[in-house]
Point group: D2
Chain length 147, copies 4
Amino acid sequence: MSDKLAKKIAKSLHAGEKTSAAFGISLVDAGEGWARAAMKIRPDMVNGHNVAHGGLIFTLADTAFAWACNSRNVVTFAQHAAISFLSKVEPGETLTAEAREETAVGRTGVYTVRVSAEDGRVVATFQGLSRTAGGKVIEEEESKDEE
Amino acid sequence: MSDKLAKKIAKSLHAGEKTSAAFGISLVDAGEGWARAAMKIRPDMVNGHNVAHGGLIFTLADTAFAWACNSRNVVTFAQHAAISFLSKVEPGETLTAEAREETAVGRTGVYTVRVSAEDGRVVATFQGLSRTAGGKVIEEEESKDEE
Amino acid sequence: MSDKLAKKIAKSLHAGEKTSAAFGISLVDAGEGWARAAMKIRPDMVNGHNVAHGGLIFTLADTAFAWACNSRNVVTFAQHAAISFLSKVEPGETLTAEAREETAVGRTGVYTVRVSAEDGRVVATFQGLSRTAGGKVIEEEESKDEE
Amino acid sequence: MSDKLAKKIAKSLHAGEKTSAAFGISLVDAGEGWARAAMKIRPDMVNGHNVAHGGLIFTLADTAFAWACNSRNVVTFAQHAAISFLSKVEPGETLTAEAREETAVGRTGVYTVRVSAEDGRVVATFQGLSRTAGGKVIEEEESKDEE
Protein backbone atom coordinates (compact mmCIF):
# COMPACT_ATOMS: atom_id res chain seq x y z
CA MET A 1 0.00 0.00 0.00
CA SER A 2 2.66 2.49 1.01
CA ASP A 3 4.69 1.40 -2.01
CA LYS A 4 1.64 2.16 -4.14
CA LEU A 5 1.38 5.64 -2.63
CA ALA A 6 5.13 6.14 -3.08
CA LYS A 7 4.80 5.32 -6.77
CA LYS A 8 1.92 7.79 -7.20
CA ILE A 9 3.95 10.49 -5.49
CA ALA A 10 6.94 9.80 -7.74
CA LYS A 11 4.66 9.93 -10.81
CA SER A 12 3.19 13.21 -9.67
CA LEU A 13 6.60 14.78 -8.99
CA HIS A 14 7.87 13.43 -12.30
CA ALA A 15 4.97 15.03 -14.14
CA GLY A 16 5.79 18.39 -12.56
CA GLU A 17 9.50 18.26 -13.38
CA LYS A 18 10.09 20.15 -16.57
CA THR A 19 13.74 19.10 -16.43
CA SER A 20 12.88 15.42 -16.44
CA ALA A 21 11.01 15.87 -19.70
CA ALA A 22 13.87 17.90 -21.19
CA PHE A 23 16.48 15.30 -20.22
CA GLY A 24 14.36 12.25 -20.96
CA ILE A 25 14.46 11.07 -17.33
CA SER A 26 12.05 8.19 -16.81
CA LEU A 27 10.60 6.76 -13.63
CA VAL A 28 11.60 3.10 -13.52
CA ASP A 29 10.05 2.19 -10.19
CA ALA A 30 9.53 3.56 -6.69
CA GLY A 31 8.46 2.44 -3.22
CA GLU A 32 8.56 3.66 0.35
CA GLY A 33 12.02 5.12 0.88
CA TRP A 34 13.44 4.21 -2.52
CA ALA A 35 13.17 5.06 -6.23
CA ARG A 36 14.82 4.27 -9.55
CA ALA A 37 15.23 6.71 -12.43
CA ALA A 38 16.83 6.26 -15.84
CA MET A 39 18.27 8.62 -18.47
CA LYS A 40 20.03 8.11 -21.79
CA ILE A 41 23.03 10.38 -22.34
CA ARG A 42 22.33 12.22 -25.59
CA PRO A 43 25.00 13.90 -27.71
CA ASP A 44 23.78 17.26 -26.38
CA MET A 45 24.50 16.23 -22.78
CA VAL A 46 28.29 16.43 -22.90
CA ASN A 47 30.73 18.79 -21.26
CA GLY A 48 33.73 20.52 -22.82
CA HIS A 49 35.76 17.27 -22.60
CA ASN A 50 33.08 15.43 -24.66
CA VAL A 51 31.90 13.08 -21.90
CA ALA A 52 28.57 13.19 -20.03
CA HIS A 53 28.28 16.43 -18.04
CA GLY A 54 28.61 15.81 -14.32
CA GLY A 55 25.73 18.19 -13.76
CA LEU A 56 23.36 15.90 -15.63
CA ILE A 57 24.53 12.79 -13.82
CA PHE A 58 23.92 14.73 -10.60
CA THR A 59 20.48 15.77 -11.85
CA LEU A 60 19.52 12.15 -12.52
CA ALA A 61 20.69 11.09 -9.03
CA ASP A 62 19.03 14.09 -7.42
CA THR A 63 15.74 13.25 -9.15
CA ALA A 64 15.72 9.68 -7.79
CA PHE A 65 16.66 11.10 -4.37
CA ALA A 66 13.72 13.54 -4.50
CA TRP A 67 11.25 10.78 -5.33
CA ALA A 68 12.61 8.59 -2.51
CA CYS A 69 12.64 11.28 0.17
CA ASN A 70 9.12 12.48 -0.71
CA SER A 71 7.78 8.91 -0.82
CA ARG A 72 6.00 9.10 2.55
CA ASN A 73 3.86 12.00 1.29
CA VAL A 74 5.49 14.73 3.37
CA VAL A 75 6.94 17.59 1.31
CA THR A 76 10.70 17.21 1.63
CA PHE A 77 13.61 19.18 0.19
CA ALA A 78 17.26 18.41 -0.45
CA GLN A 79 19.48 20.40 1.86
CA HIS A 80 22.85 18.91 0.95
CA ALA A 81 24.17 16.43 -1.58
CA ALA A 82 27.56 15.02 -2.48
CA ILE A 83 28.55 13.09 -5.57
CA SER A 84 31.67 11.09 -6.46
CA PHE A 85 32.32 10.60 -10.15
CA LEU A 86 33.89 7.17 -10.64
CA SER A 87 33.89 6.55 -14.37
CA LYS A 88 33.44 8.58 -17.53
CA VAL A 89 30.19 8.17 -19.40
CA GLU A 90 29.94 8.29 -23.18
CA PRO A 91 27.03 9.67 -25.19
CA GLY A 92 24.67 6.81 -26.02
CA GLU A 93 24.93 5.14 -22.62
CA THR A 94 21.80 4.76 -20.49
CA LEU A 95 22.23 5.38 -16.78
CA THR A 96 20.07 4.14 -13.93
CA ALA A 97 20.03 5.87 -10.54
CA GLU A 98 18.79 3.88 -7.56
CA ALA A 99 18.06 5.89 -4.42
CA ARG A 100 17.53 4.22 -1.05
CA GLU A 101 17.07 5.62 2.43
CA GLU A 102 19.96 4.97 4.80
CA THR A 103 18.26 6.40 7.83
CA ALA A 104 15.85 9.12 8.96
CA VAL A 105 16.05 10.94 12.29
CA GLY A 106 13.54 13.67 13.11
CA ARG A 107 13.16 15.89 10.05
CA THR A 108 16.45 14.76 8.50
CA GLY A 109 16.87 11.85 6.11
CA VAL A 110 20.04 10.36 4.64
CA TYR A 111 19.90 8.74 1.22
CA THR A 112 22.42 6.91 -0.92
CA VAL A 113 22.04 6.88 -4.70
CA ARG A 114 24.04 4.56 -6.92
CA VAL A 115 24.26 5.47 -10.61
CA SER A 116 25.16 2.61 -12.93
CA ALA A 117 25.53 2.05 -16.65
CA GLU A 118 24.08 -0.83 -18.67
CA ASP A 119 27.37 -2.75 -18.52
CA GLY A 120 27.00 -2.84 -14.74
CA ARG A 121 29.77 -0.42 -13.81
CA VAL A 122 28.96 2.14 -11.15
CA VAL A 123 29.62 5.58 -12.64
CA ALA A 124 28.78 7.69 -9.60
CA THR A 125 27.68 7.46 -5.99
CA PHE A 126 25.62 10.21 -4.44
CA GLN A 127 24.64 10.93 -0.87
CA GLY A 128 21.74 13.23 -0.10
CA LEU A 129 20.55 14.89 3.08
CA SER A 130 16.88 15.80 3.11
CA ARG A 131 14.74 17.91 5.42
CA THR A 132 10.98 17.64 5.68
CA ALA A 133 9.05 20.88 5.20
CA GLY A 134 5.58 19.57 6.08
CA GLY A 135 2.43 19.47 3.98
CA LYS A 136 1.39 16.68 1.63
CA VAL A 137 2.94 16.07 -1.76
CA ILE A 138 -0.34 14.72 -3.19
CA GLU A 139 -3.88 14.43 -1.87
CA GLU A 140 -4.52 10.91 -0.61
CA GLU A 141 -8.12 11.15 -2.01
CA GLU A 142 -6.66 11.58 -5.43
CA SER A 143 -4.48 8.55 -4.81
CA LYS A 144 -7.43 6.43 -3.69
CA ASP A 145 -9.44 7.35 -6.78
CA GLU A 146 -6.92 5.69 -8.98
CA GLU A 147 -6.67 2.44 -7.02
CA MET B 1 48.71 36.79 -19.36
CA SER B 2 47.68 33.65 -17.50
CA ASP B 3 44.28 35.26 -16.88
CA LYS B 4 44.03 35.77 -20.64
CA LEU B 5 44.80 32.09 -21.27
CA ALA B 6 42.33 31.09 -18.54
CA LYS B 7 39.62 33.07 -20.28
CA LYS B 8 40.35 31.43 -23.63
CA ILE B 9 40.21 28.01 -22.02
CA ALA B 10 36.88 28.83 -20.41
CA LYS B 11 35.53 30.09 -23.75
CA SER B 12 36.71 26.93 -25.48
CA LEU B 13 35.15 24.64 -22.85
CA HIS B 14 31.98 26.72 -22.92
CA ALA B 15 31.74 26.33 -26.69
CA GLY B 16 32.01 22.54 -26.32
CA GLU B 17 29.35 22.27 -23.62
CA LYS B 18 26.07 21.42 -25.23
CA THR B 19 24.41 21.69 -21.85
CA SER B 20 25.49 25.29 -21.38
CA ALA B 21 23.75 26.22 -24.60
CA ALA B 22 20.64 24.30 -23.59
CA PHE B 23 20.47 25.94 -20.15
CA GLY B 24 21.55 29.40 -21.29
CA ILE B 25 24.69 29.32 -19.12
CA SER B 26 26.93 32.28 -19.95
CA LEU B 27 30.58 32.88 -19.21
CA VAL B 28 30.78 36.08 -17.16
CA ASP B 29 34.52 36.15 -16.58
CA ALA B 30 37.45 33.85 -15.79
CA GLY B 31 41.07 33.98 -14.69
CA GLU B 32 43.74 31.70 -13.30
CA GLY B 33 42.06 29.55 -10.67
CA TRP B 34 38.64 31.23 -10.80
CA ALA B 35 35.58 31.67 -13.04
CA ARG B 36 32.10 33.15 -12.99
CA ALA B 37 29.07 31.70 -14.79
CA ALA B 38 25.47 32.93 -14.94
CA MET B 39 22.13 31.30 -15.73
CA LYS B 40 18.53 32.49 -15.70
CA ILE B 41 16.06 30.03 -14.20
CA ARG B 42 13.43 29.47 -16.88
CA PRO B 43 9.96 28.11 -16.22
CA ASP B 44 11.12 24.78 -17.67
CA MET B 45 13.88 24.46 -15.04
CA VAL B 46 11.71 23.64 -12.06
CA ASN B 47 11.30 20.49 -10.04
CA GLY B 48 8.10 18.86 -8.84
CA HIS B 49 7.77 21.45 -6.03
CA ASN B 50 7.83 24.30 -8.62
CA VAL B 51 11.18 25.81 -7.54
CA ALA B 52 14.48 25.72 -9.45
CA HIS B 53 15.70 22.12 -9.77
CA GLY B 54 18.71 21.46 -7.55
CA GLY B 55 20.30 19.56 -10.42
CA LEU B 56 20.43 22.72 -12.53
CA ILE B 57 21.85 24.84 -9.72
CA PHE B 58 24.49 22.13 -9.32
CA THR B 59 25.13 22.17 -13.07
CA LEU B 60 25.74 25.92 -13.03
CA ALA B 61 28.17 25.61 -10.10
CA ASP B 62 29.85 22.58 -11.65
CA THR B 63 30.35 24.50 -14.90
CA ALA B 64 32.12 27.39 -13.15
CA PHE B 65 34.18 24.84 -11.21
CA ALA B 66 35.22 23.11 -14.47
CA TRP B 67 36.35 26.40 -16.01
CA ALA B 68 38.34 27.30 -12.89
CA CYS B 69 40.06 23.94 -12.45
CA ASN B 70 41.02 23.73 -16.14
CA SER B 71 42.28 27.32 -16.17
CA ARG B 72 45.98 26.40 -16.10
CA ASN B 73 45.57 24.47 -19.38
CA VAL B 74 45.93 20.97 -17.93
CA VAL B 75 42.95 18.70 -18.61
CA THR B 76 41.26 18.29 -15.23
CA PHE B 77 38.16 16.40 -14.14
CA ALA B 78 35.79 16.67 -11.20
CA GLN B 79 36.15 13.68 -8.93
CA HIS B 80 33.84 14.76 -6.11
CA ALA B 81 31.49 17.63 -5.43
CA ALA B 82 29.18 18.62 -2.61
CA ILE B 83 26.43 21.23 -2.62
CA SER B 84 24.38 22.81 0.15
CA PHE B 85 21.07 24.33 -0.87
CA LEU B 86 20.42 27.41 1.27
CA SER B 87 17.48 29.17 -0.29
CA LYS B 88 14.73 28.34 -2.78
CA VAL B 89 15.02 29.89 -6.22
CA GLU B 90 12.01 31.03 -8.23
CA PRO B 91 11.67 30.88 -12.02
CA GLY B 92 12.78 34.23 -13.46
CA GLU B 93 15.74 34.67 -11.11
CA THR B 94 19.25 34.91 -12.56
CA LEU B 95 21.96 33.09 -10.65
CA THR B 96 25.70 33.72 -10.71
CA ALA B 97 28.21 31.05 -9.69
CA GLU B 98 31.68 32.19 -8.68
CA ALA B 99 34.32 29.46 -8.43
CA ARG B 100 37.67 30.02 -6.74
CA GLU B 101 40.53 27.71 -5.94
CA GLU B 102 41.03 27.04 -2.24
CA THR B 103 44.21 25.06 -2.68
CA ALA B 104 45.94 22.60 -4.99
CA VAL B 105 48.26 19.81 -3.84
CA GLY B 106 49.79 17.45 -6.38
CA ARG B 107 47.09 16.41 -8.84
CA THR B 108 44.25 17.38 -6.49
CA GLY B 109 42.56 20.78 -6.36
CA VAL B 110 39.91 22.06 -3.97
CA TYR B 111 37.45 24.69 -5.18
CA THR B 112 34.65 26.61 -3.52
CA VAL B 113 31.75 27.90 -5.60
CA ARG B 114 29.25 30.40 -4.27
CA VAL B 115 25.94 30.69 -6.11
CA SER B 116 24.04 33.93 -5.56
CA ALA B 117 20.88 35.57 -6.83
CA GLU B 118 20.49 39.15 -8.06
CA ASP B 119 19.19 40.30 -4.67
CA GLY B 120 22.52 39.26 -3.18
CA ARG B 121 21.35 36.23 -1.22
CA VAL B 122 23.54 33.13 -1.43
CA VAL B 123 21.36 30.28 -2.68
CA ALA B 124 23.94 27.51 -2.62
CA THR B 125 27.55 26.77 -1.75
CA PHE B 126 29.46 24.07 -3.60
CA GLN B 127 32.79 22.44 -2.94
CA GLY B 128 34.59 20.58 -5.70
CA LEU B 129 37.56 18.24 -5.71
CA SER B 130 39.40 18.05 -9.02
CA ARG B 131 42.06 15.73 -10.35
CA THR B 132 44.36 16.56 -13.25
CA ALA B 133 44.42 14.02 -16.08
CA GLY B 134 47.26 15.58 -18.11
CA GLY B 135 47.25 16.91 -21.67
CA LYS B 136 46.36 20.44 -22.73
CA VAL B 137 42.84 21.81 -22.87
CA ILE B 138 43.68 24.10 -25.81
CA GLU B 139 46.74 24.59 -28.01
CA GLU B 140 48.71 27.62 -26.82
CA GLU B 141 49.45 28.50 -30.52
CA GLU B 142 45.76 28.84 -31.07
CA SER B 143 45.60 31.11 -28.06
CA LYS B 144 48.45 33.29 -29.36
CA ASP B 145 46.80 33.66 -32.78
CA GLU B 146 43.89 35.43 -31.24
CA GLU B 147 45.96 37.85 -29.17
CA MET C 1 39.63 -17.08 3.79
CA SER C 2 39.59 -13.48 2.59
CA ASP C 3 37.47 -12.61 5.63
CA LYS C 4 40.16 -14.25 7.78
CA LEU C 5 42.86 -12.12 6.12
CA ALA C 6 40.68 -9.02 6.47
CA LYS C 7 40.36 -9.65 10.20
CA LYS C 8 44.13 -10.05 10.59
CA ILE C 9 44.70 -6.81 8.71
CA ALA C 10 42.21 -4.98 10.91
CA LYS C 11 43.90 -6.42 14.03
CA SER C 12 47.29 -5.32 12.76
CA LEU C 13 46.09 -1.78 11.94
CA HIS C 14 44.30 -1.61 15.28
CA ALA C 15 47.48 -2.58 17.11
CA GLY C 16 49.35 0.25 15.33
CA GLU C 17 46.74 2.90 16.11
CA LYS C 18 47.78 4.75 19.21
CA THR C 19 44.54 6.71 19.04
CA SER C 20 42.41 3.57 19.25
CA ALA C 21 44.09 2.66 22.51
CA ALA C 22 43.66 6.20 23.84
CA PHE C 23 39.96 6.31 22.93
CA GLY C 24 39.18 2.72 23.85
CA ILE C 25 38.17 1.83 20.28
CA SER C 26 37.71 -1.92 19.94
CA LEU C 27 37.59 -4.10 16.85
CA VAL C 28 34.23 -5.85 16.90
CA ASP C 29 34.56 -7.78 13.65
CA ALA C 30 35.85 -7.38 10.11
CA GLY C 31 35.67 -9.09 6.72
CA GLU C 32 36.42 -8.35 3.09
CA GLY C 33 35.13 -4.85 2.43
CA TRP C 34 33.56 -4.27 5.84
CA ALA C 35 34.43 -3.73 9.50
CA ARG C 36 32.79 -2.90 12.83
CA ALA C 37 34.37 -0.81 15.58
CA ALA C 38 33.01 0.22 18.98
CA MET C 39 33.81 3.00 21.44
CA LYS C 40 32.31 4.09 24.76
CA ILE C 41 31.93 7.85 25.18
CA ARG C 42 33.82 8.73 28.34
CA PRO C 43 33.27 11.94 30.33
CA ASP C 44 36.54 13.26 28.85
CA MET C 45 35.21 12.92 25.28
CA VAL C 46 32.78 15.82 25.33
CA ASN C 47 32.81 19.16 23.55
CA GLY C 48 32.05 22.60 24.97
CA HIS C 49 28.29 21.85 24.82
CA ASN C 50 28.79 18.74 27.04
CA VAL C 51 27.84 16.14 24.40
CA ALA C 52 30.16 13.70 22.62
CA HIS C 53 32.67 15.60 20.48
CA GLY C 54 31.91 15.23 16.78
CA GLY C 55 35.61 14.73 16.16
CA LEU C 56 35.60 11.53 18.18
CA ILE C 57 32.48 10.18 16.50
CA PHE C 58 34.24 10.91 13.21
CA THR C 59 37.39 9.16 14.47
CA LEU C 60 35.41 6.03 15.32
CA ALA C 61 33.77 5.99 11.87
CA ASP C 62 37.06 6.76 10.15
CA THR C 63 38.73 3.86 11.97
CA ALA C 64 36.11 1.36 10.79
CA PHE C 65 36.43 2.85 7.28
CA ALA C 66 40.24 2.38 7.36
CA TRP C 67 39.90 -1.27 8.37
CA ALA C 68 37.33 -1.91 5.64
CA CYS C 69 39.22 -0.18 2.83
CA ASN C 70 42.52 -1.90 3.72
CA SER C 71 40.83 -5.29 4.03
CA ARG C 72 42.12 -6.61 0.70
CA ASN C 73 45.72 -6.14 1.86
CA VAL C 74 46.56 -3.19 -0.40
CA VAL C 75 47.70 -0.08 1.49
CA THR C 76 44.84 2.38 1.12
CA PHE C 77 44.32 5.92 2.42
CA ALA C 78 41.28 8.08 3.03
CA GLN C 79 41.16 10.96 0.58
CA HIS C 80 37.80 12.44 1.50
CA ALA C 81 35.14 11.84 4.10
CA ALA C 82 31.82 13.40 5.00
CA ILE C 83 29.77 12.94 8.15
CA SER C 84 26.22 13.89 9.08
CA PHE C 85 25.49 14.22 12.77
CA LEU C 86 21.93 13.05 13.40
CA SER C 87 21.55 12.79 17.15
CA LYS C 88 23.41 14.01 20.22
CA VAL C 89 25.36 11.43 22.17
CA GLU C 90 25.70 11.51 25.96
CA PRO C 91 28.73 10.43 27.96
CA GLY C 92 28.32 6.78 28.95
CA GLU C 93 26.83 5.67 25.64
CA THR C 94 28.62 3.02 23.58
CA LEU C 95 28.70 3.59 19.83
CA THR C 96 29.21 1.04 17.08
CA ALA C 97 30.43 2.03 13.63
CA GLU C 98 29.76 -0.37 10.77
CA ALA C 99 31.66 0.33 7.55
CA ARG C 100 30.74 -1.32 4.28
CA GLU C 101 32.01 -0.89 0.75
CA GLU C 102 29.51 0.67 -1.63
CA THR C 103 31.66 0.24 -4.71
CA ALA C 104 35.26 0.28 -5.91
CA VAL C 105 36.39 1.50 -9.32
CA GLY C 106 40.09 1.49 -10.21
CA ARG C 107 42.03 2.90 -7.27
CA THR C 108 38.97 4.59 -5.75
CA GLY C 109 36.62 3.03 -3.21
CA VAL C 110 33.39 4.38 -1.74
CA TYR C 111 32.37 3.34 1.76
CA THR C 112 29.36 4.04 3.93
CA VAL C 113 29.67 3.93 7.72
CA ARG C 114 26.66 3.91 10.01
CA VAL C 115 27.26 4.86 13.63
CA SER C 116 24.60 3.68 16.08
CA ALA C 117 24.03 3.73 19.80
CA GLU C 118 22.96 0.80 21.99
CA ASP C 119 19.32 1.89 21.88
CA GLY C 120 19.41 1.38 18.12
CA ARG C 121 19.25 5.00 17.02
CA VAL C 122 21.61 6.05 14.23
CA VAL C 123 23.71 8.95 15.55
CA ALA C 124 25.77 9.61 12.43
CA THR C 125 26.28 8.50 8.86
CA PHE C 126 29.68 8.78 7.23
CA GLN C 127 30.78 8.42 3.64
CA GLY C 128 34.43 7.81 2.82
CA LEU C 129 36.39 7.92 -0.42
CA SER C 130 39.56 5.86 -0.41
CA ARG C 131 42.52 5.63 -2.75
CA THR C 132 44.89 2.68 -2.94
CA ALA C 133 48.58 3.53 -2.58
CA GLY C 134 49.98 0.05 -3.34
CA GLY C 135 52.10 -2.22 -1.16
CA LYS C 136 50.81 -4.78 1.33
CA VAL C 137 49.38 -3.90 4.73
CA ILE C 138 50.67 -7.13 6.29
CA GLU C 139 52.86 -9.98 5.05
CA GLU C 140 50.70 -12.92 4.03
CA GLU C 141 53.33 -15.31 5.52
CA GLU C 142 52.74 -13.67 8.85
CA SER C 143 49.04 -14.19 8.34
CA LYS C 144 49.49 -17.89 7.50
CA ASP C 145 51.65 -18.52 10.58
CA GLU C 146 48.78 -17.67 12.80
CA GLU C 147 46.24 -19.86 11.05
CA MET D 1 33.58 44.48 20.42
CA SER D 2 32.01 41.49 18.67
CA ASP D 3 35.49 40.06 18.11
CA LYS D 4 36.10 40.41 21.84
CA LEU D 5 32.90 38.50 22.61
CA ALA D 6 33.81 35.88 20.01
CA LYS D 7 37.15 35.32 21.69
CA LYS D 8 35.50 34.91 25.11
CA ILE D 9 33.08 32.39 23.67
CA ALA D 10 35.92 30.43 22.10
CA LYS D 11 37.81 30.47 25.39
CA SER D 12 34.74 29.26 27.24
CA LEU D 13 34.07 26.43 24.75
CA HIS D 14 37.77 25.53 24.79
CA ALA D 15 37.72 25.27 28.58
CA GLY D 16 34.76 22.86 28.39
CA GLU D 17 36.34 20.61 25.77
CA LYS D 18 38.01 17.71 27.49
CA THR D 19 39.25 16.51 24.13
CA SER D 20 41.12 19.76 23.47
CA ALA D 21 43.07 19.26 26.67
CA ALA D 22 43.77 15.63 25.82
CA PHE D 23 45.01 16.48 22.31
CA GLY D 24 46.80 19.68 23.24
CA ILE D 25 44.55 21.82 21.01
CA SER D 26 45.21 25.50 21.67
CA LEU D 27 43.12 28.55 20.81
CA VAL D 28 45.28 30.77 18.62
CA ASP D 29 42.76 33.52 17.98
CA ALA D 30 39.08 34.06 17.24
CA GLY D 31 36.71 36.74 16.04
CA GLU D 32 33.18 37.08 14.72
CA GLY D 33 32.71 34.27 12.21
CA TRP D 34 36.25 32.90 12.36
CA ALA D 35 38.71 31.07 14.63
CA ARG D 36 42.16 29.55 14.58
CA ALA D 37 43.21 26.44 16.52
CA ALA D 38 46.56 24.65 16.67
CA MET D 39 47.68 21.13 17.61
CA LYS D 40 51.00 19.32 17.58
CA ILE D 41 50.88 15.77 16.27
CA ARG D 42 52.32 13.60 19.02
CA PRO D 43 53.68 10.08 18.48
CA ASP D 44 50.48 8.73 20.06
CA MET D 45 48.31 10.42 17.39
CA VAL D 46 49.14 8.13 14.48
CA ASN D 47 47.07 5.59 12.63
CA GLY D 48 48.04 2.07 11.58
CA HIS D 49 50.09 3.49 8.66
CA ASN D 50 52.19 5.60 11.10
CA VAL D 51 50.99 9.02 9.91
CA ALA D 52 48.71 11.45 11.73
CA HIS D 53 45.25 9.90 12.21
CA GLY D 54 42.68 11.55 9.96
CA GLY D 55 40.27 11.56 12.86
CA LEU D 56 42.49 13.90 14.83
CA ILE D 57 43.04 16.25 11.90
CA PHE D 58 39.24 16.31 11.57
CA THR D 59 38.91 16.97 15.31
CA LEU D 60 41.22 19.98 15.08
CA ALA D 61 39.28 21.40 12.12
CA ASP D 62 35.95 20.64 13.77
CA THR D 63 37.07 22.46 16.92
CA ALA D 64 37.95 25.64 15.00
CA PHE D 65 34.63 25.31 13.15
CA ALA D 66 32.74 25.05 16.47
CA TRP D 67 34.39 28.19 17.82
CA ALA D 68 33.64 30.10 14.62
CA CYS D 69 30.00 29.05 14.31
CA ASN D 70 29.26 29.79 17.98
CA SER D 71 31.03 33.15 17.81
CA ARG D 72 27.83 35.21 17.72
CA ASN D 73 26.76 33.77 21.07
CA VAL D 74 23.93 31.58 19.78
CA VAL D 75 24.32 27.89 20.63
CA THR D 76 25.10 26.22 17.33
CA PHE D 77 25.83 22.60 16.39
CA ALA D 78 27.58 20.94 13.48
CA GLN D 79 25.11 19.07 11.34
CA HIS D 80 27.41 17.97 8.52
CA ALA D 81 31.10 18.18 7.75
CA ALA D 82 33.35 17.02 4.93
CA ILE D 83 37.12 16.81 4.87
CA SER D 84 39.62 16.27 2.08
CA PHE D 85 43.01 14.93 3.11
CA LEU D 86 45.64 16.46 0.84
CA SER D 87 48.99 15.56 2.36
CA LYS D 88 50.30 13.11 4.96
CA VAL D 89 51.32 14.55 8.30
CA GLU D 90 54.24 13.20 10.34
CA PRO D 91 54.44 13.05 14.13
CA GLY D 92 56.15 16.19 15.39
CA GLU D 93 54.40 18.56 12.97
CA THR D 94 52.22 21.35 14.32
CA LEU D 95 48.98 22.00 12.45
CA THR D 96 46.91 25.16 12.39
CA ALA D 97 43.22 25.12 11.45
CA GLU D 98 41.66 28.38 10.31
CA ALA D 99 37.86 28.43 10.14
CA ARG D 100 35.95 31.17 8.38
CA GLU D 101 32.28 31.66 7.62
CA GLU D 102 31.37 31.41 3.95
CA THR D 103 27.76 32.39 4.40
CA ALA D 104 24.84 32.09 6.78
CA VAL D 105 21.19 31.83 5.73
CA GLY D 106 18.48 31.45 8.34
CA ARG D 107 19.60 28.88 10.90
CA THR D 108 22.20 27.36 8.57
CA GLY D 109 25.84 28.44 8.30
CA VAL D 110 28.54 27.28 5.91
CA TYR D 111 32.16 27.33 7.05
CA THR D 112 35.45 26.52 5.37
CA VAL D 113 38.42 25.37 7.44
CA ARG D 114 41.92 25.19 6.04
CA VAL D 115 44.42 23.05 7.94
CA SER D 116 48.08 23.85 7.28
CA ALA D 117 51.47 22.71 8.54
CA GLU D 118 54.37 24.94 9.62
CA ASP D 119 56.03 24.62 6.22
CA GLY D 120 52.97 26.26 4.69
CA ARG D 121 51.50 23.27 2.89
CA VAL D 122 47.75 22.76 3.20
CA VAL D 123 47.19 19.27 4.62
CA ALA D 124 43.39 19.28 4.63
CA THR D 125 40.38 21.35 3.74
CA PHE D 126 37.15 21.00 5.67
CA GLN D 127 33.67 22.28 5.01
CA GLY D 128 31.14 22.45 7.81
CA LEU D 129 27.40 23.03 7.89
CA SER D 130 26.07 24.40 11.15
CA ARG D 131 22.59 24.84 12.56
CA THR D 132 21.68 27.21 15.35
CA ALA D 133 19.85 25.67 18.30
CA GLY D 134 19.09 28.88 20.19
CA GLY D 135 20.16 29.95 23.67
CA LYS D 136 23.36 31.76 24.60
CA VAL D 137 26.77 30.13 24.74
CA ILE D 138 27.94 32.47 27.56
CA GLU D 139 26.24 35.13 29.64
CA GLU D 140 27.03 38.59 28.25
CA GLU D 141 27.22 39.93 31.87
CA GLU D 142 30.07 37.57 32.48
CA SER D 143 31.71 38.83 29.33
CA LYS D 144 31.31 42.49 30.37
CA ASP D 145 32.76 41.83 33.83
CA GLU D 146 36.02 40.89 32.28
CA GLU D 147 36.26 43.88 29.98
